[in-house]
């Protein structure tokens, strides 16, 4: 059916939910910061803020890649396992130095992304099923690489990735900021980014417009795998150990949460990079706030669940406009 909606009319009716969906996450972050500034002692301490940023950084990095995949109307459940895979690869090559080890870890992430992307774009599996395979197999493979054991790492260069800083800013926070900027440019300014959003927004239209849909999708999963591997490397460095059974556990859920809370619809066609970062920060702040007020971690989890519900509900409102 063709319904000609006058722009003003459709716009006004959807205005409030859209505002909440687009900017609600920033408002929520500001409210939490303000609350803590007043009621939580020492919250605005440089040391505490730094801790918050450092803790949120790996999830930010994973969520950026996830946002690309979700924007393409897909999802990647394997990111946590890819983090573990990257962690497991590091000690195997650390003998050659830090860079070769990191490079191999990143290659593992790229390979995982290629695998996922091929299953989705070429074989035509549903993303949730395709990446479920690697969610299970990836961690298994990581445990095989690691011989099922935690390995303490002593390479100072690698450990510097975890606790080092540049001009007073932790390396991991710089990395997250750099990747955020790169992703924002990729999505907003490059041909690839716009094509990715078009594929997610209307795939049949993208096919008819002659876009290389397969290549676009595979690239999205490769980037997602790469970002997850980067996060895996940093997580390993911070832990000062390669622990494939623990690293990246439930990271896929945190990442998806950050993306959704940040205003990227699960139905694709839109990628909100800064929103995703804010989404990750919001979840981090919620947890920190509750813990600082001596509420148990379980309460924090329930609060997070409530936020996810609100985010999804608001997004739904916008969709059914």
């Amino acid at each position: 059916m063709t319904t000609d909606t006058a722009p003003a009319l459709g716009g006004r009716r959807a205005a409030l939910p859209r505002l909440v969906s687009d900017y609600g996450v920033y408002a929520a972050v500001l409210v939490l910061l303000a609350y803590n500034a007043v009621f939580t002692p020492y919250f605005l301490d440089a040391g505490n803020l730094r801790t918050q940023l450092v803790q949120a950084a790996p999830i930010v990095i994973v969520a950026l890649g996830m946002a690309l995949v979700i924007g393409s109307e897909g999802i990647d459940l394997s990111v946590g396992s890819v983090m573990a895979l990257a962690a497991a690869v590091i000690p195997l090559y650390l003998g050659f130095g830090m860079w070769p080890a990191v490079l191999m870890a990143l290659l593992a992430g790229i390979a995982a992304g290629l695998f996922n992307g091929t299953l989705v774009a070429v074989v035509g599996l549903q993303p949730i099923v395709a990446t479920l395979a690697l969610l299970v197999a990836g961690r298994g493979l990581a445990l095989v690489f690691a011989g099922g054991q935690l390995k303490q790492l002593h390479n100072p260069e690698l450990l510097a990735l975890g606790d080092g800083e540049l001009a007073g800013v932790p390396v991991i926070v710089l990395a997250a900021a750099g990747l955020t900027l790169a992703t924002a440019i990729l999505v907003g300014r490059t041909t690839y980014g716009r094509q990715l959003v078009a594929v997610g927004g209307n795939r049949p239209a993208a096919v008819l417009a002659g876009l290389p849909v397969r290549r676009i999708l595979i690239t999205a999963y490769v980037l997602c795998g790469l970002f997850a591997a980067v996060a895996g490397v940093f997580a390993t460095a911070r832990l000062t150990a390669s622990d494939p059974s623990a690293i990246g556990n439930l990271a896929e859920l945190s990442a998806i949460t950050a993306v959704v809370v940040g205003g990227t619809p699960l139905t694709g066609g839109r990628v909100r990079v800064l929103g995703t970062v804010a989404g990750a920060m919001l979840m981090q702040l919620v947890r920190a706030t509750l813990i600082k007020h001596d509420l148990p971690d379980s309460a924090a989890q329930m609060a997070q669940a409530a936020i996810i519900l609100v985010a999804v509900y608001v997004a739904r409102e916008r969709r059914t406009r």
Binding site: T2, T5, T191, R194, L208, A209
Partner: protein
Amino acid sequence: MSDPATILDARGVTKRFPGVLALDHVDLTLTPGRVHALVGENGAGKSTLIKILSGAYHADSGEIVHAGRPVSFARPLDARAAGISTIYQEVNLIPLMSVARNLFLGREPRRLGLIDLRRMNREAAAVLDRYGVHVDVTRPLGTIGLGARQMVALARAVAEDARLLIMDEPTSSLEPREVETLFTVVESLTAKGMAVLYVSHRLEELYRLCETVTVLRDGRVVHTGPLAELDRLTLVAHMLGRELDQVRQEGTTRFGEHRDHTGNPPVMEARGLTKRHVLRGVGLTVRAGEVTGLGGLLGAGRSETAKAVVGALPLDSGTVTVGGRRLRRLSPATAIRAGMALLPEDRKAEGIVPDLSVRENILLAALPRLSRFGFVSRRRQERIVATFTKRLRIKAASPEQKVGELSGGNQQKVLLARWLCLNPRLLLLDEPTRGIDVGAKAEVQALIDELAADGLAVVLISSDLEELVEGADRIVVLRAGAVVAELDGDDVGEHAVMAALAEAEPREEDDRDD
């Protein structure tokens, strides 16, 4: 209240959707033992009517008298319980369950409270045997042929004691032999007093099977009565909304004079486009500066032909030659590189990307050729967009407005701009003026003329016969996936097109190679 000889009597059924009056006081009377045909073109309201009769939709007003009692079905289950069974185009069975389980779904034979599998399978096999279906009933339904699935649906409807059977294009994916079996079954059912409402576009089948017919157009009944008294040409005229005796001399569309272009070299030649159940060896030649119309009733394969040419419909066989060079691998990307562009029929599903801006929608296909190292200069984009917004008079608040917020006519113009900025040699337009307002319609029609005058080759598909006849220099008429007539020059006229549509169908067996 109602004639005891009617099983179902619908009176003044009206249904409104946002912006559209789908059914406008529709009357329909069905009689036991008769097959009643329901025909109409796209948007006539057939599906809406079927959905109301089967309880999937609720009529806004009007009355449905079923077996002498006024009824109002709240959900499909109520209609089923009342003895109305509907077999949809996409068969509504469960592909992963066995044939027998599908047949007995909800009424499985039980033994000690559990399903008596052995009895169920035995009875299922016996039932299907009677319908000429010989398959292993323990196999998942999805693994048997479409024809056999159609029979399972039919058998299930009968087993549920249905007294009225609604069949929505039951033969669209059947082999000729399966069609015969289906007809035999339907005939035996009506002999037992069942009423059948039969929806199809195949005139051959209608005249073979149906006694009465109701023609819908734009939500209204335009004709109802015995089919035998209606010749094919008149039936087609009713469906298309053209009165035979008063085909207008002067048109109301914005198209100019017809021109002859037979001297021009062909821009595109398609040969033997074939896809099972869809296209049967369609050939099409298009010349520069010429508008070639594709005529045909719903389901004749017009959109499919256009899609096949641009590689958006995988083919079993067939070739497409552009500018003398044969395209090796048909895909939308190669077609676009060769200079072809398709404006799809379904603007929302296959055309616009609603959340992207007007600018990005216009440049969607052109982006790769504009970009340097993966980036596109914003100024360059804006220049192209400004050119086309002006030329096509696209009304948007700004180039950054989301396309989903524009009116249908402006969305269509954005899509036209998407293809025109590629500077194509051949433009295929599938229903370019459907669902857009009168002003935009005239603009699009004038644009088509202008483009052809500039030397572009155009393929025009339109269900609006007047638009087709006045817009096209030449018309290729399709029926059941095959070309049945080509009209040139003075032959191009509404009467000639309708005559071609109404002709007896070519014998299918001769053309099929299976």
